[in-house]
């Protein structure tokens, strides 16, 4: 402790900015880790809390996937002896006409079916203010809103609020206000209650319910009741406690989690290198100090503990700073995640509250401390092993000993070969990660030798640019590879991550673009919402002939997409008119004959699966799939596997007639419209809008607009990836700034000697600049090369972790071209201040340095 106060604190004070820079790696690593976990947890908690609040005292919920089920099932459920109360529910997410209020979750409930008109919120009893319950039921424009929403928009009883309905925007009358608490806290108060039959009417749901909420008879066990209700309803239904619904949201966040986890880990690794570099230099700079301490009787252990103590203190500081930064950033991350889910799945954003759990604080600070200590272990060991006599002598300490170099090379060869084998020749995910780790460690071990080779190759170029400064810079780097290797390794790793992420983004973008070109080829899309994913509004089948009769329309394809529970996972069931689809937009077959699979599926003799569904479920053509429907299990053979990216959990494609028969549902989510030759899309769009806009909520998207929508969705994913890339670049920049500052400051004596023997200030300055640029150049060359390997590993990880998401290897040349000058410029900028300090400082002081 005394040593820490007397020596370490003085050193840190003297090198304040450098010490701060050293911490940046830990700060960033911990911040990304904390932001990711806190945001994900808050989003998950918000969804879960919302589900619980809406569920109230519900013990079990009966669902049959997104399409819902016929009303008749309600009586069946109500008649079961295990059931005390069975209340049907219809849910819809609608946009309001209220500025800045976003979407509103409409809960359609059977007011007469509840204990009291004021008791829908079973948690809080007499909580609702209702002007007249009979008027509420009699008038389909009645709505009950939360106090929060009423207050925010100065709405009172009998006030009016515009909502999007199946028949366009309609005004609703506020006939009740729910007092705060319970249900109304869901979605931050963006919730409203309607009569269920009015909700069916205004949202075009026909005579279907989304689910039935149940309370059990006294004394009935949950599991027993669940089994009995399931038996009574059949396998097409899911009978689950409300809490399990939250799990489905959790699975939506998997890819997001994967990317963030990867990045936070990488940031910590890069941070570790920055600390390693900084401590290695500190050990060298303080050799004489270590020598004196050893001569005065300090033990090796005390010296090692001194450096580890410094590292621990720095790690703690960095971790706490990272924790705070992560907490601040988590809100933005959570907003991004909820926005993504809202866009892709059409659900209302829940109100997220960021919180740091004690466990998260302990884990993140622990990770920061471990990283910091691990980084300081080798420098601390080197310090402890320092011979007191040699320590008091000046001289080169950065040169690699031939023996150490041989050991490094051998280890790199073994790890590299083993790693490559594991990455390329094994199937398991854990082996892949192990192989990836081996490859990265091998790359780091090779860094000094590789850096030396590249610098040797660059020497003539540097000499050609500036004969004196170029040679001096190259020779300095070659003479002390130990000094620059950590800088190069840190930068190389960061750049490799940049290339990996950017390549993955390019690969996935290319695949999605290919899919968009194949799938989204109709001239127009007629949808009930601005997006093609929102399924709150459905069209009646009777609209089809009307659309077909519009001048210029050649073919109309009806599409119904619903999410169903397949083996306890939500998958997308797509009901198409497959004969027409086969003619107009055949997909790319992955397994099976394309024509044959579409023929069989169109005849109702089979089902087609998306590539990711087949991989996730491990099914192949010929397998029999059991798809749950309200009419029972639909058993159909898998007749083909195609490339389809409509849903990350997988998609099944059946013919519309099969869907109509088994789901008793002839609704249409959107129409795909192909125009006659010569027909102008804009004119036909106008004609459709004119025909229907008076009596129906309807959006007509041109092909370009539909593509733009899909691109917007995918862009949201890519924006997240861009965020990761940005972090990686930032860490790389910080790494180079820190390392160069340290490195140049460390060479003050050497540079002063140069000046003392007659070198001009401009020559010294030029030497430093060129050296910095050379370090940047070497790092970029190695980083971009390692990036190829990183990209390969990342694509393998994605493919193995998310079956079906196998993207092509496309090297991101564009990003590489941007990174190149950015890093070189950063290296040069980073060297400006230390170079000026070196040439303008006192020669005497500089010569006394060390």
């Amino acid at each position: 402790m005394i040593l820490l106060r007397l020596l370490s604190w003085q050193y840190i004070r003297k090198h304040g900015p450098r010490s701060l820079l050293t911490l940046t790696g830990i700060v960033f690593g911990v911040a990304v880790f904390v932001a990711m976990h806190a945001a994900n947890q808050s989003v998950f908690d918000a969804f879960q809390e919302t589900i619980n609040r809406i569920a109230g005292a519900t013990e079990l919920q009966v669902t049959a996937g997104e399409p819902g089920f016929d009303e008749d099932y309600l009586e069946k459920v109500q008649s079961l002896p295990q059931v005390r109360v069975a209340a049907p529910v219809v849910e819809a997410v609608v946009s309001t006409g209220l500025p800045g209020q976003g979407n509103l979750l409409i809960l359609g409930v059977d007011m007469t079916g509840d204990r009291s008109l004021r008791e829908y919120d079973l948690d809080s009893g007499e909580d609702a203010m209702m002007e007249d319950p009979l008027v509420f039921l009699a008038q389909p424009d009645s709505i009950m809103i939360s106090t929060e929403l009423a207050r925010r928009n100065q709405l009172r009883i009998n006030g009016r609020i515009a909502l999007d309905t199946v028949a366009g925007s309609k005004e609703f009358v506020v006939r009740g206000i729910l007092r705060p608490g319970g249900l109304t806290r869901a979605f931050g108060g963006n919730i409203a209650v309607m009569d269920i039959y009015a909700a069916q009417h205004v949202f075009g749901r026909g005579r279907k319910f989304d689910r039935i909420d149940l309370a059990l008879a006294p004394g009935v066990q949950l599991d027993e009741a669940r089994a009995e209700i399931q038996k009574a309803l059949g396998p097409g239904f899911q009978v689950q406690p409300p809490s399990t619904r939250g799990q489905s949201f959790h699975s939506l966040l998997r890819i997001y989690n994967f990317i963030l986890k990867f990045s936070s880990l990488f940031a910590l690794v890069v941070g570790m290198f920055i600390i390693y570099n900084s401590f290695s230099i500190a050990v060298v700079q303080r050799r004489s100090e270590i020598g004196i301490l050893r001569a005065l009787g300090a033990t090796r252990r005390q010296i090692a503990m001194l450096f580890l103590g410094e590292s621990l203190a720095g790690g703690l500081l960095g971790s706490v700073a990272g924790l705070l930064l992560g907490y601040l950033v988590a809100g933005k991350v959570a907003a991004n995640v909820t926005s993504l889910i809202e866009g892709a799945y059409g659900v209302t954003r829940p109100e997220t509250r960021i919180g740091l759990t004690p466990a998260l604080c302990v884990i993140s600070i622990g990770a920061g401390l471990l990283t910091s200590i691990a980084a300081a272990l080798i420098p601390a060991r080197n310090a402890a092993r320092t011979d007191p006599i040699k320590a008091l002598q000046k001289g080169s300490v950065y040169a690699l000993s031939p023996r150490a170099d041989r050991v490094r090379m051998a280890a790199a060869a073994v790890l590299g070969a083993g790693g490559l084998f594991l990455v390329t020749s094994t199937k398991g995910l854990s082996l892949l990660y192990a192989g990836y780790l081996c490859v990265m460690v091998a790359a780091m071990l090779l860094t000094p030798r590789l850096a030396l080779c590249v610098v040797s190759a660059l020497r003539p170029v540097l000499r050609w640019i500036r004969p004196v400064e170029g040679v001096l810079a190259a020779d300095s780097l070659m003479a002390a590879p130990g000094r620059t290797s950590a800088t190069v390794a840190a930068l190389m790793l960061s750049l490799a991550l940049v290339i990996g992420l950017a390549g993955a983004a390019r690969g996935s973008s290319a695949r999605i673009l290919d899919w968009v070109n194949t799938t989204l080829n109709p001239d127009l899309f007629v949808s009930g919402s601005r997006s093609l994913t929102d399924r709150n509004y459905r069209f009646p089948d009777s609209m089809t002939p009307e659309l077909e009769s519009v001048r210029g329309v050649e073919q109309v394809q009806r599409v119904r997409n619903v999410r169903i529970d397949y083996q306890q996972q939500l998958v997308l069931l797509m009901a198409f008119e497959l004969r027409k689809v086969a003619q107009r937009s055949p997909r790319r077959a992955v397994e099976g004959d394309l024509k044959e699979m579409f023929r069989l599926a169109a005849e109702g003799k089979g089902v087609i699966a998306s590539e990711n569904f087949a991989t996730l479920k491990g099914v192949h053509v010929g397998a029999t799939l059991e798809i749950p429907s309200p009419a029972g299990l639909l058993r159909m053979p898998l007749v083909g596997v195609i490339r389809e990216y409509a849903d990350q959990q997988g998609a099944l494609i059946i013919d519309r007639e099969v869907f109509k028969k088994h789901w008793n549902d002839d609704g249409v989510d959107y129409f795909r419209i192909y125009l006659a030759k010569g027909a102008a899309p804009d004119r036909v769009k106008e004609a459709i809008l004119t025909r229907f806009s008076g009596n129906r909520r309807l959006f007509v998207l041109t092909n370009q607009e539909a593509r733009a929508f899909v691109t917007r969705l995918t862009d949201q994913w890519f924006r997240m990836q861009s965020g990761q890339i940005l972090i990686a670049i930032l860490v790389a920049i910080l790494g180079i700034v820190s390392s160069l500052t340290v490195s140049i400051t460390d060479r003050r004596r050497e540079l002063a000697v140069l000046q003392a023997v007659g070198a001009l200030r401009s020559q010294v300055r030029g030497t430093i600049w060129m050296e910095a640029a050379a370090v940047g150049l070497v790092s970029v060359i190695l980083g971009l090369a390692l990036g190829a390997l990183q990209l390969y590993c990342l694509l393998e990880m994605t493919a193995r972790d998310f079956p079906g998401l196998r993207f092509d290897f496309l090297y991101p040349y564009g990003v590489a071209a941007i990174v190149f000058p950015v890093i070189l410029a950063t290296a040069w900028l980073a060297s400006l201040a230390p170079a000026e300090s070196a040439v303008r400082g006192s020669l005497v002081e500089a010569l006394e340095y060390e």
């Binding site: 109500q78 007469t112 079916g113 008109l117 319950p133 039921l137 009699a138 039959y197």
Partner: protein, 251 residues
């Protein structure tokens, strides 16, 4: 010995008298109010705890009585609820079936049996309160005599028979001795008084003594509902067809 026999006879007779007479009295009430059908125009006033009053009007028709009846309630005013109708089919051996018709969305809906304790459209009556109950749904016991508004009454306690569902654990009924009509009814959940119903403005209509004003007080909400029966008629010519879901739709 003789005095012992007299005591025994008195004990047996009095217990039998009190036990049977309570049920007999209720049976007599039902018998005297028996009519094949009924029709009236109801004026409903709901007065909430703050004194705010809202009014509704309906036409009530019933075919059959006391546990074996079908009844419709059609709202005629105010304009917002005009056309809303309710069909209640009562059975002697189980709870009634109820349907509601809402013309604005062209929909009928079934009201679940399990939710009969729900308030009847914002009034202080529950759906269960509006059912015509069979005498055999309850067990009765005499609790003495007490005057209500100056009129001598029997005080009888009714408890649901085992297997018969009710939101109330017991009811205390006051029956006028003069004409065998209900004077007041208090409904309890456990020991808590939930609702009190008063029968007022007694009139003899076609030989049936009928309360022309019913006043239900909800003790938990401090609100009350007054139902006035106008144009009351008994034993009209009504048919089964008029009491179906289809008829409900047709208005």
């Amino acid at each position: 010995m003789n005095s012992l026999k007299l005591c025994l006879w008195l004990a047996v007779t009095s217990s039998t008298l009190f036990g049977q007479s309570a049920r007999d009295i209720v049976a007599e009430v039902q018998k005297r109010s028996q009519a094949d059908s009924q029709r009236y125009e109801g004026l409903l006033q709901v007065i909430d705890s703050r004194g705010k009053t809202s009014e509704k009007q309906w036409i009530y028709e019933r075919l059959g009585s006391h546990g074996k009846s079908k009844a419709t309630i059609r709202f005629v005013a105010p304009a917002e609820v005009k056309g809303v109708a309710l069909l209640v089919v009562s059975y002697p051996d189980r709870a009634s079936d109820q349907w509601m018709w809402t013309p604005a969305i062209n929909r009928e809906r079934r009201i679940a049996m399990q939710d009969r304790r729900t308030r009847f459209f914002g009034t202080d009556f529950s759906f269960e309160d509006l059912e015509e109950r069979d005498i055999d749904h309850h067990e009765y016991s005499m609790k003495g005599e007490e005057a209500i508004e100056g009129e001598p009454c029997w005080r009888i306690e009714a408890r649901p028979r085992p297997g018969k569902k009710s939101q109330y654990t017991r009811s205390v009924i006051w029956i006028r001795k003069t004409n065998y009509t209900y004077a007041q009814m208090e409904n309890y959940s456990e020991d808590k008084l939930i609702r009190r119903l008063k029968y007022r403005r007694m009139e003899n209509v076609q030989g049936i003594w009928t309360a022309r004003t019913l006043e239900m007080e909800d003790m938990t909400r401090s609100s009350r509902t007054i139902l006035k029966l106008e144009s009351l008629k008994y034993n009209l010519l009504l048919t089964d067809d008029q009491f179906s879901v289809q008829a409900l739709r047709q208005g």
